[in-house]
């Protein structure tokens, strides 16, 4: 049965038929899209609490009833892992929330995470019938996904799947971000003995050291990790593959398959004068200090500079997370400096909206060209080149070009550089026989995620460069099914 037949068969079930008939589409279309319950901006910038508070049951059931249960649900084509979106939403509408959560888990390993961090406006929701045909706001698929996943977790009835007979085959996973975690989850369910090796002292990858608490609480990620533990996944922290253990060591230890999910953790700088002044740092450093090392906690040993006038260079999620963190840590001015216009910003729309509500300033069409410091080497000012938009470049976005002579200076005491990341070079450098792209990513077969080394599969940011959580997860799941198939041949 292909995916379309599957979706049709599911849609034809009696309860779905009945639900569709229970309310005319005219009534459904008349309902306005639900608004997320949020903490007030002036309160949330004083703390680290999650900004989005989730939907309550009543809101969720009403929003779910907006979904028309389309015969050709385009939303599912916008989801990188192909979640059966109408099925989970209709389960919410009929009040079977746990069933909705199970539907999500058929395809997504971490729905509570994706419901919070997926760029739905570019994926599922962008394909929704409401938006495409009715020119209305799409069904809030992401909010509903989060609602179902949270409901399951808070009900204490998380389904820990039954593990089949163990087959004793040892599998190693390098890195514990979303790619590694989803791969580990699938392989343990298939009966393999799975060990995840993580370089840092905490499990979770970017979900822990990068994305802040106010957007994705650690406790949400920890529940998922605990579940994997309960299913038998072993986690080894403080262990760097390629350093602590080599490719050969893994073989000696009896590992028959390896999944490389080591991410794109290397910060890029712009190589402009003054970039090594005190107070200029990468967003990775800033976020790692605050999120992983808890530097804002007075009890913690790791320090963080108390920025009062903070500029963040970049327009992605990482830049938004950094600028909003700086605001929470007491910045009076927290400014996004971005060389294109707001339209081209890669950050999620929700993040930009939240940032603005929190008093973040936006200096778009500005690009830093120099940082200036005091006699002790602390950054005090920055020079910015004003830009205008020219022709579209390779990425399809209009490329920024400098306006000759249009240079401004602003006062700053901290600058966070957030202009992208590169793949972690350790596996590419130490596993001989891999094909590496000019960008430094591991080249794999797209359908199986298998590399040129027969026992090495790879996925997530190490294959894609900086991408998204859901794509990393999807890679993990595809690699798991392909590796499993290889063992059964």
């Amino acid at each position: 049965m292909d995916n379309k037949e599957y979706l049709n068969a599911q849609r034809a079930e009696a309860w779905r038929e009945a639900l569709r008939k229970s309310k005319p589409n005219k009534d459904r279309i008349g309902i306005a899209r639900v608004a997320m319950n949020e903490l007030a901006p002036d309160y949330r910038i004083t703390c680290n609490e999650e900004v989005n508070q989730g939907l309550n049951r009543k809101q969720a059931l009403l929003e779910a009833s907006r979904c028309l249960d389309c015969p050709e649900p385009l939303c599912t084509t916008g989801c990188p892992v192909g979640i059966n979106i109408p099925k989970f939403i209709k389960n919410i509408e009929r009040g079977e929330i746990l069933e909705a959560a199970r539907t999500l888990k058929e395809t997504s390993a971490l729905p509570a995470v994706c419901g919070r961090v997926c760029p739905q406006e570019k994926q599922c929701e962008s394909k929704c019938f409401y938006l495409q045909k009715l020119k209305k706001e799409p069904v809030a698929i992401g909010y509903l996904e989060r609602f179902a996943a949270d409901y399951e977790r808070e009900s204490g009835q998380i389904s820990v799947p039954e593990i089949p007979q163990r087959n004793g085959i040892k599998i190693a996973v390098v890195g514990s971000g979303p790619a590694g975690l989803s791969f580990a989850g699938d392989m343990i369910k298939k009966g393999y003995a799975v060990t995840v090796f993580e370089a840092l002292h905490e499990i979770g990858g970017v979900l822990k050291y990068g994305i802040p608490e106010f957007r994705l609480p650690n406790s949400i990620v920890d529940v998922e990790i605990d579940n994997l533990r309960k299913m038998g996944v072993e986690f080894v922290t403080d262990c760097i593959i390629g350093k602590t253990l080599s490719y050969d060591d893994l073989h000696e230890m009896g590992f028959k398959g390896i999944f490389a999910a080591s991410g794109a953790g290397l910060p890029r700088f712009m190589n402009i004068p003054g970039e090594n002044l005190i107070g200029v740092m990468s967003s990775n450093e800033y976020l790692t200090r605050v999120n992983l090392m808890r530097a804002a906690d007075p009890e913690a040993d790791t320090p963080v500079l108390p920025g009062r006038k903070v500029a963040i260079i970049g327009g992605g999620n990482t830049a938004m997370d950094s600028v909003r963190t700086a605001r929470r840590l007491g910045a009076e001015r927290a400014i996004i400096v971005y060389r294109r216009s707001e339209e081209e910003m890669p950050a999620r729309i929700e993040e930009v909206k939240h940032a603005k509500e929190e008093g973040i300033e936006f200096m778009t069409l500005h690009n830093p060209i120099e940082y200036i410091g005091d006699e002790k080497g602390h950054v005090t000012r920055m020079r910015l080149q004003k830009m205008t938009l020219g022709e579209p470049d390779a990425s399809g976005r209009r490329s920024p070009v400098p306006i000759p002579g249009a240079i401004v200076e602003i006062d700053v005491d901290m600058v966070i550089v957030s202009v992208g990341v590169s793949p972690n070079p350790l596996i590419p450098n130490t596993f001989k026989g891999l094909t590496i792209s000019p960008k430094g990513t591991i080249v794999v077969d797209e359908s199986s995620m298998r590399s040129d080394l027969p026992d090495l599969y790879a996925g997530g940011d190490i294959v894609r460069g900086g991408a998204t959580v859901i794509l990393a997860m999807g890679d993990g799941r595809r690699a798991a099914s392909a590796m499993d198939a290889q063992f059964h041949r």
Partner: protein
Amino acid sequence: MNKIVNKEYFSANVVKLEVEAPLIARARKAGHFVIVRTGEKGERIPLTITSADVERGTITLVIQAVGKSTRKLCALEAGDYITDVVGPLGKATHIEKFGTVVCCGGGVGVAPLLPIVEAMKKAGNKVITVLAARTKELIILEEQMRQHSDEVIIMTDDGSYGRKGLVTNGVEEVINREKVDLCVTIGPAVMMKFVALLTKKYDLPTIASLNTIMVDGTGMCGACRVTVGGKTKFVCVDGPEFDAHQVDFDEMLMRLSSYKGIE
């Protein structure tokens, strides 16, 4: 969690810890370091691996109590556990037969110098080691250095032991006396800066092992960046050893003071 199996004092503030870390013991080479974290709220700090015992599955760290984190670590006793030890990190020292090698260390830089002295000697070099400190009590690892060096020169600021003078005086004396092929220097940044200035004058190739601020130690954050030959480098992955004549020590000194007054 890594167990401390042995603890020794070199002086009131300098402690040697032997720590269980079988995988690191097996994988490490001279010049490698580890990142260590003490306690759940502890910070991640880099420490050079002084030596390793593959059979016992242990590595040895020499720690000078200078700040909060090193004091915490020095307060641990045999039988206690270090929360996290990860490594080996960085690039190993390039060891080969150069001829005559002067290895000079000051303060706590002496500990990371030991494995290099040992490896250089093993590779067939004539090794002259210059140890420097403010005063006699602060000279450490003299015994171990003597075992692996052809000659050990001791310099103290106050003349209380060995000769009176700075590390550079000791190194210059050797250069003037005989043909030297390589100089290796590890110590406070100011010391390395002056060693580099001296050996540059004599065109003597010099390697410095840099001890910058670090967070992850794996190339992820850039806290450790330095300028070498006009280019930005990450000490934790591109180093820790660099051509001393190319290092911008003034920038490094400045960056080392980033968190002064905050910690």
